[in-house]
Amino acid sequence: MSLLRGLLGMDLIRTWVRLFLSFREKLALLDSALLLDVPLGVISRIEKMGGATSRGENSYGLDITCKDMRNLRFALKQEGHSRRGMFEILTKYAFPLAHSLPIFAFLNEEKFNVDGWTVYNPVEEYRRQGLPNHHWRITFINKCYELCDTYPALLVVPYRASDDDLRRVATFRSRNRIPVLSWIHPENKTVIVRCSQPLVGMSGKRNKDDEKYLDVIRETNRQINKLTIYDARPSVNAVANKATGGGYESDDAYHNTELFFLDIHNIHVMRESLKKVKDIVYPNVEESHWLSSLESTHWLEHIKLVLTGAIQVADRVSSGKSSVVVHCSDGWDRTAQLTSLAMLMLDSFYRSIEGFEILVQKEWISFGHKFASRIGHGDKNHADADRSPIFLQFIDCVWQMSKQFPTAFEFNERFLITILDHLYSCRFGTFLYNCESMRERQKVTERTVSLWSLINSNKDKFKNPFYTKEINRVLYPVASMRHLELWVNYYIRWNPRIKQQQPNPVEQRYMELLALRDEYIKRLEELQLANSAKLCDPSASPSGPSQMMPHVQTHF
């Protein structure tokens, strides 16, 4: 039955059993089949509700806000101040950082027969892309994270740019996040390059090295006379960023470039939008004006803008029109969304289970998407302005694509939901910390288990049976509002009134059919074998094997 998942040691589990027992009657009254499985990492906020003098049922207890679109409310009895102890223990273990305790991933001793930490090896991934080549080299200039502390150790840069050039460019890019290669087109050799905004500032500063560097990137491909820069932000925001020292590449400074703004809003807008989504789906689903309420959250509109931006990036590159530079302000939120989604559209490798893991590992984890700050792992400051559902939004975009191309992805919906569940759970080390340098320092790969260990040791569960492997097909999803849907199975999964069949009945039935077919084929082969054995015996068969076998085999 129900117990808040402790996984924290026996004494605590006993506490939880008691906690559970003390209100089992009440839960049982509501619904005898109620089952809770809440990793403590999912908890965003714990509040006491009611006081010693509160009257009425369910007025006294704990209210727990979760990061995964639900709230839990535990009604307790007022006698004996049972709540205080519970509140303290919960707070302590749900927010270990505030109590100088380790995050649960460091205590987790689960064992899997696959080591997920070996999934991503940057050298191998770049080699798969055909790198290094004549125009692009691998540099270890950031080996000790001295060039840029939020970038990975290994970077791919233009062959013609020296390490000194890179250092000079770094001074002109926000947080030293210089333009580096994310992906190269296997045929036309155009590239996707990512970076942060240039430090133009109010005075319109210029930097010859940065300008030259972008031109060197352009020249890695002879046919191209313009380099396309996609600034993910709305143009007003890009201009406003000049006030804080940032900005964008102006025409007069960067000659052979063209700049487009993609109108994607910042982390604060996305956080507020998701908050509105939660308001209309939890605890009660807005019913009477569902569609217009959904519209007023703007969530699908943001999804549309992110997808539209990624489609533009992918189209530029796949058509060979030009190489593309993508940045936003710091280049770790919107930029990661755009590069990874464009890569998913362009490169079928990333649509396999391992390919997708590599994509997340590369574009998000290694390039310093600030998971710790955006999610707030183990941190009690639920109102922290740094929190934002940027990665969730990316996964939502992937889900939208998988809906539109049901045979293109090796993974299923459960795979995406599992990734999101463990984005918060703190059971694995995969999403901990803000950047690679921090993870190195904390020896995350040695001290924690990777989420990919869980997934790769049980891959069948996460496979899409309709998957058809295709090479070199570019997927352009339709990013029109008509074709986007709210991901009901994720956002509204806690609502018992929304019909949800897990596992997906279509997938399951398809697997059954596959198994049935295999079984028939096997039985048929056995029969054929038995037949041919008899047929080989000349005394048993007057007609001889050559006449019989083709008859049996024509059915394939």
Binding site: E287, L300, F466, M481, V552
Partner: protein, 485 residues
């Protein structure tokens, strides 16, 4: 009547544009009594393009220089554009299409001339009485009727009261009945002024009346028109798509229809009650409710054959006036007289049911699309006329082919069947929360969306199913060869 009188220009050179996905087609355009033909010449791969004139919903012509353009909006929601050489030819062809597509006479319509190979007249017109159905609901019965003619005088009818008493008596002792009136209490009461009304409580003991107002007639048609407009509006910024979709109210109608059907089904299944459904005439929303309730409760109506029986019994034989309701679809500029997409509403509800229970219906989306297309314009006679009586008068059954025999041909099966079907003996209770109901993209965005999406996945399933059937089918052969040995 001579069609030739209505055909002003027989032929012209033209180019046909069929939307973003299909390539344009150039050739000789030709108007015949029932069809528009485009013949691209002997070398072309699709050697002939054919459109039933009956399926043209509205026609728009424009001329510029010595060329003209005709835009045809079809009843299946397709939009076609014809670029025609010659102003005179354009105008004449447009006039011919206009005249021929709106002929009202049933017996000169195409089904009376359609003689496809491989089908015999008279086939599949007669269904065997669906015994299973009656057996299954042995105790609780689902009835439909029209409103009682109470009138302003509050008349009563002893026979009518006795009939409903007998229904309860025929069920189990102490059985209750529910009358689901598909009008609001107010409307039902007002109907007395025109001679109708609804069952008075005192006159029908044991029966409880429930009012579940369902939109019908013009508001339903307008909802359909607005929705199709919104779906076809590719220019407008789509930031307000969702509120526009909500404003069309189509999904609200779907929700209401499904919930009322659930209510009727629940009354039978969970309360063991007898259910009588009616509105005013009992030929529109009543049929939506009774046919959906059967799909919810009765597994045999979810098979390919059972569903055809259901449509035949609950819609065609029950006298849904198809000819009036489906005279025009969503594009006509004419003021709607009797048009209403009641049958489409039913099909949409079935689609929602199929989406929520993807394994439980033996037929797939293709079947629902085919029924929609054929209800509005068809070479088959099944949806002709407004009632059994009219069909008899026109000798529809002897002189036209039945849609069912057309659909039940082997070559059609892959399009119509659900390869994942597993018979489900349970009732299907759909979720009617707005979050669970979707726009039926396969219908409303059929001609504007990229064709690829789900077809590829279905093709894979079919591959597996056929492979499996082949293997299964070949087993007897193997055993037979064993016997020979």
């Amino acid at each position: 009547m001579e069609f030739s009188e209505l055909i002003r220009t027989g032929q012209a050179q033209a180019e046909l544009l069929r939307g973003p996905e299909a390539p344009p087609l150039r050739g000789t355009l030709c108007v015949t009594g029932h069809h528009l033909l485009l013949s691209p010449g002997p070398q072309a791969t699709p050697d002939l393009w054919l459109l039933l004139l009956r399926s043209v919903d509205s026609i728009e012509k424009r001329v510029a220089g010595d060329c003209g353009t005709i835009t045809l909006r079809c009843k299946d929601l397709r939009v076609l554009q014809l670029d025609i050489e010659g102003v005179e030819a354009t105008l004449n062809i447009a006039r011919s299409i206009e005249a021929l597509s709106s002929l009202e006479s049933v017996i000169t319509s195409f089904p009376f001339f359609y003689r496809p190979k491989g089908l015999r007249l008279g086939d599949a017109w007669h269904f065997h009485p669906p015994e299973r159905y009656y057996k299954r609901v042995a105790r609780e019965v689902l009835l439909r009727s029209s409103q009682p003619l109470i009138g302003p005088q509050k008349r009563r009818c002893a026979e009518d009261e006795a009939l409903l008493r007998a229904v309860l008596a025929g069920s189990r002792p102490g059985a209750r009945g529910f009358i689901v009136d598909t009008r609001s209490a107010q409307t039902a009461k007002q109907a007395r002024m025109t001679g109708g009304g609804t069952e008075a409580k005192a006159a029908y003991p044991g029966w409880k009346r429930l009012h579940r107002p369902l939109e019908r007639g013009r508001p339903l048609q307008e909802s359909f028109v607005h929705l199709v407009e919104a779906c076809g509006d590719l220019e407008q910024s789509m930031d307000h798509w969702l509120s526009r979709l909500a404003g069309c109210r189509w999904l609200a109608h779907v929700k209401e229809a499904l919930s009322t059907a659930c209510l009727a089904a629940q009354g039978m299944e969970r309360e063991g009650a007898c259910i009588l459904v009616h509105g005013a005439e009992g030929t529109d929303s009543t049929l939506v409710v009774t046919s959906l309730a059967q799909l919810i409760l009765d597994p045999s109506s979810r098979t390919m054959a059972g569903f055809q029986e259901l449509v035949e019994r609950e819609w065609i034989q029950a006298g849904h006036p198809f000819q009036l309701r489906c005279a025009h679809s969503a594009f006509s500029h004419a003021r709607p007289k009797h048009e209403a997409p009641t049958f489409l509403l039913f099909l949409d509800c079935v689609w929602q049911l199929g989406r929520q229970f993807p394994l439980s219906l033996e037929f797939g989306e293709g079947m629902l699309l085919a029924l929609f297309d054929h209800a509005y314009a068809s070479p088959f006679g099944t949806f002709l006329c407004n009632s059994e009586q009219e069909r008899c008068l026109c000798e529809v059954r002897t002189r036209t082919h039945s849609l069912w025999s057309g659909l039940n041909q082997l070559k059609e099966q892959r399009k119509l069947r659900n390869p994942l079907y597993v018979p489900n003996p349970l009732a299907l209770w759909p979720s009617v929360e707005p979050q669970s109901l979707r726009l039926w993209q396969g219908l409303f965005l059929r001609w504007t969306r990229p064709p690829e999406p789900s077809e590829a996945a279905w093709e894979k399933v079919w591959q597996i199913v056929t492979d499996q059937e082949k293997t299964e089918g070949s087993q007897p052969t193997v055993s037979a060869s064993e016997l020979q040995l």
